[in-house]
């Protein structure tokens, strides 16, 4: 039956292939692209992919500025006096701490925190197939969680709609960077990056050394002002002689509380092998009072936990930023957004069509059953609705559709799809609705086709090269 469908080819759609073949040829004539150039997340890359940062990294220069300015003032105004009256080791210690702080900050900011690359289309299809083998006869989205046992503890794995995979344990999707990050701790705006598996140790060293540095500068400035005022001058006079010290005092005073607090908190987290994310959510707080904390990842020893988190082996970066994009490689979900795609298919989630489109369409046109097709609105998918280019005037409002946000993109998608030179009106309407429905109810079930066709994209490209 499916084979019969394949043979019903519309010759008009053949116009797609020479266009793409041409663009392929162009791509070939261009230099080979590195993977960071087609990275689907919201990250920025510098130095040809060697340095990775979050998109909103405006606060990082502020952090750097504060540290550099404070230390600069310290070395310029306080150190000469203290070297003269105390010891030469003061600027030496200050210098060492400053180098530690700066290097760990830059390391935290520029290191890949443990981003998980998005699932390739074949993998996503395979996962969909496994989810749907329950043989759900309705078209409602099946539950997207999987329960597994980790060290005799039940852990729920959630399905990430953006990355199209079940998130490994302790992995969380950062909405600011639009990536799944392993052992996700938090997204730190001061550092301009997520803090995850690969850069947590740098982050910890950063805050510990920064607490030492701020305490050290604070202590030295107090000593400086005290020593100056001991020669019989008043406080006002002392301050007038060394105004920079006051600036340093103020900066250090206000930052010391938060930095020390943060260091203490993270020391607790490291000792109990928790992440900020887990601690805030209370994932492992013992609900049944008498039992021990349910954290399945702890080694039940503070020293082992600390060593494992801070001194363990350094895992490699999984995103391979500087690798070259191979022309016959399976493209991960979402990376197509950077390539030559028709305007309506900017985001991969927009382009993924839902299954059961015909039934959905029938319902949409004839019944009022659309509410059930719209999910409670996962934050990751609903914003994409807004990104579908709206070249049309008014959205097609099916009868009784009220609350579903996905439907507003139906008409715009229809007009954009016309670029493809689609034939009949029926085809237009069917096609136009699909991307919107993907947004509305991201629950494809690829049970019938995934295994047989899942790898054809790879081979399918070969003759068109």
């Amino acid at each position: 039956m499916k084979n019969c469908e394949y043979q019903q080819i519309d010759p008009r759609t053949l116009s797609v292939s020479p266009q793409s073949a041409q663009s392929l040829g162009e791509a070939k004539r261009q230099r080979p692209r590195r993977k960071w150039e087609v990275f689907p997340g919201k990250n920025r890359f510098y130095c040809d992919g060697r340095i990775i940062l979050a998109r909103q990294n405006g606060v990082l220069p502020l952090t750097l500025g504060l540290i550099v300015v404070t230390c600069g003032l310290f070395f310029a105004f306080d150190c000469p006096f203290l070297v003269e009256h105390l010891t030469v080791f003061i600027p030496v210690i200050g210098g060492v701490l400053f180098v530690f702080v700066l290097s760990s900050l830059l390391r935290t900011s520029f290191t890949d925190p443990g981003i998980l690359p998005r699932a390739t289309t074949e993998e996503a299809a395979d996962v969909e197939r496994q989810i749907d083998t329950s043989g759900s006869s309705t078209y409602r989205p099946p539950p997207r969680t999987k329960e597994i046992l980790i060290n005799q503890q039940v852990v729920k794995l959630k399905y990430c709609f953006t990355c199209k995979m079940f998130r490994p344990p302790r992995t969380s999707h950062c909405s600011m960077c639009d990536n799944c990050v392993e052992r996700f701790d938090h997204h730190c705006p001061w550092v301009g990056n997520c803090v995850g598996k690969r850069n947590y140790r740098f982050f910890y060293i950063f805050i510990i050394s920064l607490s030492f540095l701020t305490s050290f500068i604070f202590g030295c400035v107090i000593t400086h002002l005290t020593l100056r005022s001991q020669t019989g001058k008043s406080i006002i006079q002392t301050i007038q002689e060394s105004p920079a010290s006051v600036v340093e005092l103020v900066i250090c005073f206000f930052s010391i509380w938060s930095i020390l607090g943060l260091s203490g908190f993270h020391t607790y987290l490291v000792a109990s092998n928790l992440t900020t994310n887990e601690d805030i959510k209370g994932s492992w707080s013992s609900k049944r009072g008498a039992e021990e904390s349910g954290n399945p990842y702890t080694y039940n020893s503070i020293i082992t936990n600390c060593c494992a988190t801070l001194c363990g082996p350094m895992p490699p970066s999984l995103i391979d930023r500087r690798g070259f994009v191979l022309s016959d490689e399976a493209v991960p979900v979402g990376s197509a957004s950077r390539m030559e795609l028709p305007p309506f298919a900017v985001k991969s989630d927009v382009n993924m069509c839902t299954p059961s489109t015909k039934d959905m369409l029938e319902r949409m046109v004839h019944t009022s059953d659309l509410h059930c097709l719209c999910p409670p609105g996962t934050p990751k998918t609903t914003p994409l609705v807004l990104e579908v280019p709206t070249s049309a005037a008014t959205p097609t409002e099916p009868p009784n559709s009220t609350s579903c946000s996905g439907q507003h993109s139906i008409k715009p998608a229809a007009d954009s799809c016309a670029l493809f030179g689609l034939g009949t009106n029926e085809r237009d309407s069917l096609h136009s609705i699909n991307p919107a429905f993907r947004l509305a109810s991201p629950s494809p079930s690829l049970s019938h086709f995934a295994l047989n066709l899942s790898d054809s994209p790879d081979l399918g490209f070969v003759p068109l090269h």
């Binding site: 289309t121 074949e122 993998e123 490994p168 999984l318 690829l446 054809s456 399918g460």
Partner: protein, 167 residues
Amino acid sequence: MVVKNYDICCVYSCCCSGSDTSFPLIFVQTHSLQDLHQPTASSKVFVQRDYSSGTHCRFLTKFPSELDSRLDKQQFEETVQTLNNLYAEAEKLGGKSYLEGCLACLTAYTIFLCMETHYEKVLKKIAKYIKDQNEKIYAPRGLLLTDPIERGLRVVSFETNIKPHLK
């Protein structure tokens, strides 16, 4: 190329309804052209991660039914178990890894400019093992084992119906 990928991808999701015949044609067209050129489409079988002992990298040793006709269960289990052992070696916590970590910290991680991490060394070993296995065992059976690192350490994938001229 990418356009094709999504065209075909759309086919899968839409076709699964089984009843929609007109929409998928736009994208199926591409697929069916490929079918004409390569009558045997290759498919991939994925072996997922095993999280029963935590977040360490392990893969399930359960034999996938799709490979039933092509591979010995024992061979499969041996390959996956060896991979698991290699990854365990990479992630092992012990004196050597602690020493490396502390040394790296003291040198502000500049030591990695001239030295490979232990993990990277084991990854090279794994790549070599997989290449070896492909040459000796899987290629003669028309299978291709891909290195999990290329898939973000999420899956071990076996590609079936590999024809020599496609490689």
